[in-house]
């Protein structure tokens, strides 16, 4: 197509449907900075009458929309084009235009809707999902409904979320004939046939497709879905394979007597077995502070805590640092004045709700609702633990007061179920209302997104968990996907309260303090999930657990988990993942590792990258420089995996 003809027709392009707030999650051949940008997903009619799906990044929408020329549309060429740009005005414009993604409807082969209707993927080529979009506002339902006005689709039975785009005239005939030839239902006069016949009259095409896809189920998954119909003849299977390839589904089917979905995945390096260390002891803790009480080796402390946790005798003190209540580099006297300030602040916030009259409360429904929620939950938080047990236990009042004061501290967030679970171990350890409150504030700051009104934070984490699992334990991830559990909702409780319901108080304290270090990577708690699930993989798969059994099994793991074993295997999985040759940017981003394909990380920068990462993970404040002077990096070896140890001191302490 020549450029002049493009210009002529662009005048006539028309947006048939637009959906705002659509995030580009993945696209083949795109630069990584394009990913995760928000834009508008549209169905567009071109001047020549053809239609396409188009995604435009938000920062582009102000630019004239007549810049869509056909050549930009080919998704796979965009990456190449961007490399040729030099930064002048025209090419900025071109860069922006190149970021538009176009999928001509005539090329669209299949699309699917996943993640609770919030994610859509498109494919123009069998076996590859080229683009993935995430619907931030609402879901994909309306978009799909509009799209179905423009393409004829059929759902595949083995994955009800996947739509195959079909050309009705040709395909219907083929399928009708295929179905007649199959003739497998006629022997038994059951409601199956009755329904089939009646449905067939009303909706011939859909009925055929659905019956047909049921057959693919038999071939794919064995025939447990069809009662008593166990003999699918070779002939039928053969016909099915032919038609399957005609449909060009995204899966690759090989015929080897038995039919299997074949996928070749690169394997991870072997998992190193990294022993846990001993808890940070009083002596070591004191040894890491200067005479005035400043913690001089923050990274070292964190490393030690990551390796072995904190001895119970000093938890009360160390947690205040880990939860950002105490700054690491404050002296004892500075801390005393900080504590005085925070105490005043706490009690003035507490007074705000304590001084509310009954009349005020009666006219303040939002406050009242929160108070009632807090009361309900306080009465059912860890009541079996002696600290909270029994009627009229004064600790329940403290629990209630802290949560109510937090409502005043952060009224927008208010009180959400799960917060009482988060607070209980803190209060149990601190035994002091003010300290518990400020530690709770610090913990909440780390996990506030878990309690989002729209649960976006939870959904995001569940998605990341799914992606990590697919990389670290693909066989299990696929099993979950097949059993309608790919959304990982069964891990909701784990993530919401950071495994609080899964472990005893003693163990949850260990797990939390390790996770608070932020080591060895971002989102290590998701790797803890992966470690727990991976340990159950054989049960899930060998017993062919389905949707309900998976949820039940996961819920029943509560109080049966070994915290040290899990932490050790989560760390092992971390090393497996990061040393995998096929490590993707998607996984790097989840783990907080800079992606390879960024423009900033050119080869000349690479030498400094690891250092800057360490700084980013470290204290971040200017006083870190002091510690850096005596920071000599050492490397520890376990089973061939190299673990960086930041300082000589830590090295000595570990030895």
């Amino acid at each position: 197509m020549s450029s002049s003809s493009v210009d002529e027709i662009t005048e006539q392009t028309k947006d048939l449907f637009t959906q705002d707030g659509v995030l580009l999650k993945a696209a083949m051949g795109r630069m990584v900075q394009d990913l995760n940008s928000i834009g508008m997903l549209c169905i567009v009619q071109n001047g020549d009458g053809t239609k396409c799906i188009e995604w435009r990044p938000n920062d582009l929408i102000t630019i004239d929309s007549d810049t869509q020329d056909q050549e930009w549309a080919v998704v796979n060429t965009i990456g190449r084009r961007q490399r040729t740009l030099s930064g002048n005005m025209t090419s900025d414009y071109a860069t922006a235009r190149a970021r538009i993604i176009k999928i001509p409807l005539e090329d669209l082969k299949t699309f699917r809707v996943t993640r609770n209707n919030q994610q859509m993927q498109f494919s123009t080529k069998p076996g590859v999902w080229q683009t993935t979009f995430y619907f931030q506002h609402g879901n994909a339902e309306i978009f799909v409904a509009y799209l179905k006005n423009h393409v004829k689709t059929a759902k595949t039975r083995h994955d009800r979320n996947t739509y195959v785009v079909v050309e009705p005239n040709i395909e219907t005939q083929v399928l009708n004939r295929s179905f007649a030839e199959l003739d497998i239902f006629t022997e038994n006069t059951t409601d199956v046939v009755w329904n089939l016949v009646s449905n067939f009259k009303q909706r011939p095409y859909e009925t055929t497709m659905e019956a047909f896809s049921k057959l693919t189920d038999i071939v794919y998954y064995g025939n447990e879905g069809m009662n008593g119909k166990r003999d699918v003849s070779e002939e039928v299977a053969d016909l099915l394979t032919k038609s399957m390839s005609a449909l060009e589904d995204s899966t690759t089917v090989t015929r080897t007597g038995e039919y299997e979905v074949v996928s070749v995945k690169p394997t991870l390096p072997p998992r190193p077995c990294i022993p846990r260390g001993t808890p940070l002891s009083t002596e070591k803790w004191e040894g890491l502070q200067d005479t005035e009480g400043r913690v001089t080796e923050v990274e070292g402390v964190k490393q030690l805590i990551f390796r072995g946790g904190v001895a119970h005798s000093i938890r009360q003190s160390v947690w205040k640092y880990l939860l950002d209540y105490y700054p690491w580099r404050m002296t004892h006297s500075e801390l005393r004045s900080l504590q005085r300030k925070r105490t005043e602040e706490y009690f003035s916030m507490k007074l705000q709700w304590r001084s509310m009259t009954d009349g005020q409360e009666a006219r303040f429904s939002e406050y009242r609702d929160r108070k009632s929620l807090v009361e309900k939950d306080v009465n059912r938080t860890d009541r079996t633990h002696p600290f909270f047990a029994g009627d009229n236990n004064p600790n329940l009042i403290v629990l209630q007061d802290i949560l109510m004061t937090y409502v005043m501290y952060n009224f927008d967030l208010g009180y959400v179920q799960g917060m009482s679970d988060i607070l209980a171990p803190l209060l149990l350890l601190m035994g002091n209302e003010v300290d518990s409150f400020w530690c709770f504030v610090g913990f909440m700051d780390k996990i506030a997104s878990n309690f989002d009104m729209d649960q976006a934070g939870m959904k995001h984490q569940l998605l990341q968990l799914q992606q990590l699992l697919l990389f670290a334990s693909p066989e299990l991830a696929q099993h979950l996907q097949q059993k309608d559990s790919g959304n990982m909702y069964f891990c909701f409780r784990w993530l919401l309260v950071w495994f609080k319901r899964e472990f005893s108080h003693r163990d949850i304290m260990r797990l939390w303090e390790v996770l608070w270090t932020g080591l060895p990577c971002s989102n290590f708690h998701l790797l803890v999930c992966v470690a727990i699930l991976d340990a159950e993989k054989d049960i899930f798969i060998s017993k062919d657990y389905g949707f309900t059994e998976i949820l039940k099994h996961v819920n029943d793991l509560s109080m049966c988990l070994d915290v040290d074993r899990i932490l050790s295997s989560a760390e092992g999985i971390y090393h497996q993942v990061v040393s995998a040759p096929h490590l993707t940017d998607q996984i790097r981003i989840i783990l907080g590792i800079p992606p390879l394909n960024t423009t900033t990380s050119t080869s000349s920068d690479e030498a400094t990258t690891s250092q800057s990462v360490q700084q980013a993970n470290g204290t971040g404040d200017g006083s870190a420089e002091a510690a850096e002077r005596d920071m000599e990096e050492d490397t520890l070896e376990y089973d061939g995996i190299q673990i960086k140890i930041v300082t000589k001191t830590v090295w000595a302490l570990l030895a």
Binding site: K376, K459, F492, L496
Partner: protein, 210 residues
């Protein structure tokens, strides 16, 4: 696999936080009551197989977190439910008012043909009562849903409620089958053990397969 039941029904308990959903379920599945229950985070279910007119009916009862914020997650489990218990607390006016919202929530997320029942729980706490039995009955009439006051603590009407809901589902299912299958050979199409692993859809569509 040896079949240990004739029917499998998926039921769901919904209602405001703290109305006693978990306690009702615990009473029904374990015949026990625990004053210091923990709040439900996420979702869980329990199983009890009951005998209903000579048939073994396996009830898979799902228990959900009540707080509104978690609804985006919990509604994902509505699909495939055949019966829903709407629970309020007779000592909490707000939980009663919210029943209307829960019904709307069901209409948006569950199958249209799902059987429903309203339970006014904690009826043992008469001194703290805020919602009279008459108002509960009135609401039930308004929505044409069965209603009963229960006490998980005193084990009052909990069995009755689940048996009633199960019986209604069974009757509806058998009626539907007669209509769609003129010559039933075994007295009704039966759900199979492996059905529970399938994608949740309208439960009636499971019975008719297509």
């Amino acid at each position: 696999m040896a079949k240990t039941y004739d029917y499998l029904f998926k039921l769901l308990l919904i209602g405001d936080s703290g109305v006693g959903k978990t306690s009702i379920l615990f009473r029904f599945s374990e015949d026990a009551f625990n004053i210091s229950f923990i709040s439900t985070i996420g979702i869980d279910f329990k199983i009890r197989t009951i005998d209903l007119d000579g048939k073994k009916v396996k009830l898979q009862i799902w228990d959900t977190a009540g707080q509104e914020r978690f609804r985006t997650i919990t509604t994902a489990y509505y699909r495939g439910s055949m019966g829903i218990m709407l629970v309020y607390d007779v000592t909490n006016e707000k939980s009663f008012e919210n029943i209307k919202n829960w019904i709307r929530n069901i209409e948006e997320n569950a199958s249209a043909d799902v059987e429903k029942m309203i339970l006014g729980n904690k009826c043992d706490l008469d001194s703290k009562r805020q919602v009279s039995k008459e108002r509960g009955e009135q609401l039930a009439i308004e929505y044409q849903i069965k209603f009963v006051e229960t006490s998980a603590k005193d084990s009052l009407n909990v069995e009755y409620a689940f048996f009633t809901l199960a019986r209604d589902i069974k009757a509806k299912m058998e009626k539907k089958q007669e209509a769609s299958n003129p010559a039933p050979r075994t007295g009704g199409h039966q759900l199979r053990a492996n059905e529970q692993q399938r994608k949740p859809t309208s439960w009636l569509s499971r019975c008719s397969l297509l």
